[in-house]
């Protein structure tokens, strides 16, 4: 094992138009590190969906990205309402997003399914009323 690179981002829950900046930053860093474009795309999509979810549902949070020799691990932690039924939330098309969010083109119920599809491993820890932490791993 070589060195690990760790980046932490604070996600602003009030500014919907800035959602995606953290994911863009990670994408650019991976590009500079010479990571393959498929891995970059998978990481960027999985992280962006998570970032958007944090803004829509949890008033922001923090994302920690760790890049090692073997994988990219993203830990997305928020102190939002929690997910009452994970199986239901994982179904494509299920969404609890507000109308104003839908009018911007989100809320199709694809966020969590996309995160699962584009990461190689995903784990959800959630406690109602306390928050959700999602860990995603993309193999290099």
């Amino acid at each position: 094992m070589g060195d690990q690179l760790i980046f932490t981002y604070v996600i602003d829950g009030n500014d919907f138009t800035r959602a995606g900046e953290a994911s863009s930053s990670v994408k650019n860093k991976l590009k500079m590190l010479g990571v393959g474009s498929d891995v970059i795309r998978k990481t960027a999509i999985a992280m962006y969906e998570g970032e958007i979810n944090m803004v829509i549902h949890a008033d922001g949070g923090t994302i920690t990205v760790t890049i090692s020799d073997t994988d990219i691990t993203m830990v997305l932690a928020d102190t939002g309402p929690g997910i009452p039924d994970i199986d239901q939330a994982m179904q494509e098309g299920f969404s609890t997003a507000r109308e104003e969010v839908r009018s911007l083109g989100f809320g199709a119920g694809m966020g969590l399914p996309n995160m699962k599809r584009y990461s190689d491993e995903m784990h959800i820890d959630t406690v109602i009323g306390q928050g959700t932490t999602i860990t995603m791993k993309v193999n290099l």
């Binding site: 138009t17 959602a19 863009s24 999509i45 584009y118």
Partner: protein, 110 residues
């Protein structure tokens, strides 16, 4: 087909020209950003009526080469400047989504 061919379509107004030499993979049509995020192919031309900042964010992260805004939809100056920075082409047309997509397809994208 290169992006240049799309930039030259008479019905399209070029707002940001991106990288004209970029090789185009597909035409993709969708207005729901969450679906576009997962389905838009890398190096594609994405035709949509959603012209907000988030559209550009999705295009950037999904490696889309060009956004075509149909039905006369525009994009604000700040977002256009950001597109310029990201090297993503932005075009605008009065045509509906299907009509402009067909035209791009017939110009040489499969």
């Amino acid at each position: 087909m290169k992006l240049q061919t799309v930039l030259e379509l008479p019905e399209c107004k070029v707002l940001v020209k991106g990288n004209p030499e970029r090789e185009i993979s597909k035409v993709f049509c969708c207005d729901l950003l969450s679906i576009a995020m997962g389905k838009a192919a890398a190096d594609s031309v994405w035709v949509t009526v959603m012209g907000n900042k988030n559209t550009l964010a999705v295009a950037t992260l999904a490696d889309v080469a060009c956004i075509v805004l149909a039905e006369g939809i525009g994009m604000d100056e700040g977002t256009l400047a950001k597109a310029e920075e990201e090297g993503i082409a932005i075009l605008s047309t009065e045509l509906p989504i299907f009509d402009i997509s067909l035209e791009i397809y017939e110009a040489g994208v499969s």
